[in-house]
């Protein structure tokens, strides 16, 4: 398996040779910059009128892997980068379920691509395994470093070393169906601002007694879904779900128990669509889009899609006594340990953080960017709901959870978190302490 290492090296070497030739031709016309120290004099590659923090743009071919759920954003970003740069990024989209296995195999044989994205909750595990290159100083060199939403960068920091930048943000917010709210006599412009209001409004929709229409919905057999939608309820209430090291679960707190009880009450009142109990996550956003759900926490990325069929009201996910929070999910991106062209790879990352990418690509297509100073832009201002999502993302209560064993504790199909909330909502409801200890046992390994 080790011998495969050379396979990745040779094309890159030849690419560098070609790139050096191209750069040699272009060198006379450009004005310097780039990281010249790594190249022999004479064919110094240069970023076209670039600054030092922008890395090197010399016509190198870069490889980039991401998982299928980020395909749309990744394609837009890569197309925009390739159109405006000499470097060319080759994008590989990997099916979601195969991604960990593919990255693992490549990491073992030293064949990781130059750049690769990772589900932000898995990033601590991957940084600990040493899959990424240290980019602490490069991030610090960015003139707008302080304006980047710190959630992903913090999740990608291990032992004080920064490894990743935000690639695509996926945020959870509260969605409600304005038409159903009007029918139920609720204010369609004002969603729930506390957990109790969420419960009242879901029950009010249920009380309409419409065929096939339910108050709310959740992925009852999907750990990842409820990490995404329930954690913010706890954060907005001022509590945390784990200790700072991510080695101990705190889901037996009074606040957490109140969240579980709220869902349990709704389930027992019949206000949660019965499909919830079996929902493995494949279709958890479906019923709302069909107009059958009153109010539920939902991915903000699907706003445009949901808008096509539903008059969507949008707000932050509330805590017990108010406040808002969101789960800053999505994918972080870093330079792999195997990349031989880190200066060129950094050029892509630096561009990714620029206004061109953040506003010109992400905001233009309705995605939430990573730059907090660019949240108010020409595209977001067209829809006040998008501005609101950006504001929620910058709220101090909004977080990305950090734990090396997050996948095993919360996302895996046999995760103890799944056992905890299923027992708390559908089961006896008195095993939270024991189930929380089971999560701690996994996290603390």
């Amino acid at each position: 398996m080790r011998s495969i290492r050379t396979r990745g090296g040779r094309p890159i070497a030849s690419v560098i040779a070609v790139a050096a030739m191209v750069a040699g031709l272009a060198a006379c016309s450009s004005s310097g910059g780039g990281d010249a120290t790594t190249n022999p004099p004479g064919d110094t590659p240069t970023a076209a009128d670039g600054e030092a923090w922008e890395g090197v743009d010399d016509g190198t071919t870069l490889t980039l892997w991401t998982r299928a759920p980020m395909e749309a954003q990744a394609n837009l970003l890569v197309d925009a980068y390739n159109a405006s740069h000499q470097n060319q990024v080759q994008l590989t989209i990997v099916p979601n379920d195969d991604y960990v296995a593919k990255v693992g195999a490549a990491a073992g044989s030293g064949d990781l691509p130059d750049l690769f994205a990772a589900d932000i909750v898995y990033v601590p595990n991957w940084t600990q395994a040493g899959l990424f290159t240290d980019i602490t100083d490069r991030i610090a060199s960015l003139p707008f470093a302080a304006d980047i939403n710190p959630a992903h960068i913090d999740a990608g920091t291990y032992d004080g070393v920064k490894y990743v930048l935000p690639f695509v943000h996926d945020l959870s917010v509260m969605f409600w169906n304005k038409d159903l709210y009007r029918e139920a006599g609720l204010d369609p412009e004002q969603g729930p601002t506390t957990l109790a209001e969420f419960k009242e409004q879901a029950l009010a929709i249920q009380a309409l007694g419409k065929e096939g229409v339910y108050g709310t919905y959740f992925g009852g057999n999907c750990g990842g879904c409820n990490v995404f939608t329930w954690f913010p309820m706890i954060w907005a209430s001022g509590e945390d779900v784990m200790n700072a090291d991510g080695t101990e679960a705190l889901l037996n707190s009074d606040v957490a128990q109140e969240v579980f009880t709220t869902w349990r009450d709704l389930w027992e009142a019949g206000a949660v669509a019965p499909g919830s109990r079996d929902e493995t996550g494949a279709t958890w956003t479906g019923p709302f889009q069909e107009g059958n759900i009153g109010v539920m926490p939902y991915p903000a990325t699907l706003l445009a899609t949901a808008d096509q069929t539903i008059d969507v009201g949008l707000g932050g996910i509330p805590g017990i006594d108010g406040g808002v929070s969101t789960f800053i999910g999505g994918d972080g991106i870093g330079i792999s340990k195997d990349s031989k062209v880190t200066d060129q790879a950094w050029n892509f990352l630096a561009w990714l953080m620029s206004e061109d990418a953040q506003v010109g690509v992400l905001a233009r297509h309705g995605d939430v960017g990573a730059r907090m100073d660019l949240t108010d832009n020409e595209f977001s201002s067209a829809d006040p709901r998008v501005v609101l999502v950006n504001e929620i993302a910058a709220d101090p209560n909004s977080k990305t959870p950090f734990s090396v064993n997050f996948q095993q504790g919360f996302n895996a199909t046999d995760a103890p978190w799944l056992t905890l909330f299923r027992n708390a909502v559908f089961g006896s409801g008195d095993s939270v302490e024991a189930d929380n200890a089971a999560i701690t046992a996994v996290l603390g390994q």
């Binding site: 109990r277 493995t280 299923r422």
Partner: protein
């Protein structure tokens, strides 16, 4: 006298020729077998050796080989959270599937054998699901069983069979039976075909003789058909048991081991040890070695038992 004397050199010549011919034939044999041999070595022996090495090493998915740590992986495997429940569930699933599948396949084979007019239509109808990949079939049933979009519940409700929607994958029992149903639907045709070939191999003379001796239908079935079908049944049993013990796709797609970890099969356990968070290839390899040993043992017992009366 001189004519009867055979000189040693004259006798040795044909022998040497014969030996060299034998050698050449042997070499030719090896040459014929070598492509297969290469495939066996590259695609079977080497991977098994690699798995063996992994199973005694500290081998993380990302970290790579960190050296021998035997027997830590095996102790961890036996202590793994869902190890014993997974074994119990896999065995239960295997017994249920094998009994139903083979019983039904035999019945179908006899039915198709007997009826003449609908023979071709029946054979085709029963065999068509076998043309579908198992993963595709699982996805199809995932949609059919879905509480959101599945059509089965609305049908049943409109026919008045049920009043409340059935949760096909919602409880441990229903998830098991829903999966068994999928597997039976998918594989009944395949096993029917195997048994049909066996049935056609039984000479008509035997049946005629039995009829002349006054044997009834049931007697013909138990005394003639079943014993003569034994090799085909043995093949089907071994295929079905081995296949069921290694069940993965259908559960991975339909239930993901849920609800509440009640449908985790042993191969799913291996998968989740390697890729779903633990990222521990050493542990996964140790589990694989345990499964391999168990399979060898089970197949050995089956061969013994099924061959028994023939010899």
């Amino acid at each position: 006298m001189a004519t009867t004397t055979i000189t040693p050199s004259a006798a040795a010549a044909p022998r040497r020729r014969r030996v060299s011919r034998v050698r050449r034939r042997a070499a030719l044999g090896w040459a014929y077998a070598s492509p297969t041999g290469v495939f066996v070595v590259v695609f079977f022996i080497l991977p098994v050796v690699l798995v063996g090495q992994m199973s005694v090493s500290d081998w993380g998915l990302f970290a790579g080989n960190k050296g021998i740590n035997a027997p830590d992986n095996f102790t961890a495997a036996f202590a793994a959270a869902h190890f014993w429940p997974a074994i119990v569930f896999t065995l239960k699933y295997t017994v249920v599937t094998t009994v139903i599948l083979l019983g039904l396949a035999l019945a179908l084979a006899l039915l198709v054998q007997e009826s003449n007019r609908w023979k071709n239509l029946l054979r085709t109808a029963i065999l068509v699901p076998s043309a579908l990949g198992l993963a595709s079939a699982s996805l199809l049933f995932y949609a059919l069983y879905s509480p959101q979009s599945g059509p089965i519940n609305p049908w049943l409700q409109s026919l008045g069979v049920v009043t409340e929607p059935i949760s096909f994958l919602g409880t441990a029992t229903s998830a098991l039976w829903s999966t068994v149903f999928l597997i039976v639907w998918r594989f009944a045709g395949f096993y029917m075909l195997l048994l049909m070939v066996g049935l056609q191999g039984i000479s008509g003379d035997v049946y005629e003789a039995a009829r002349i001796d006054g044997a009834g239908r049931w007697q013909t079935f138990t005394r003639i058909t079943l014993p003569l079908l034994r090799p085909s049944l043995a093949l089907c049993t071994i295929l079905c048991i081995t296949g069921s013990l290694l069940a993965f796709d259908q559960f991975f797609i339909l239930t993901k081991g849920g609800p509440d970890n009640t449908t985790i099969t042993i191969v799913q356990l291996i998968y989740s040890a390697a890729f779903a968070g633990r990222n521990n290839l050493g542990l996964a390899a140790a589990l694989s070695v345990i499964v391999l040993a168990a399979l060898l043992l089970i197949n050995l017992v089956q061969f013994r038992g099924l061959r028994g009366k023939d010899s």
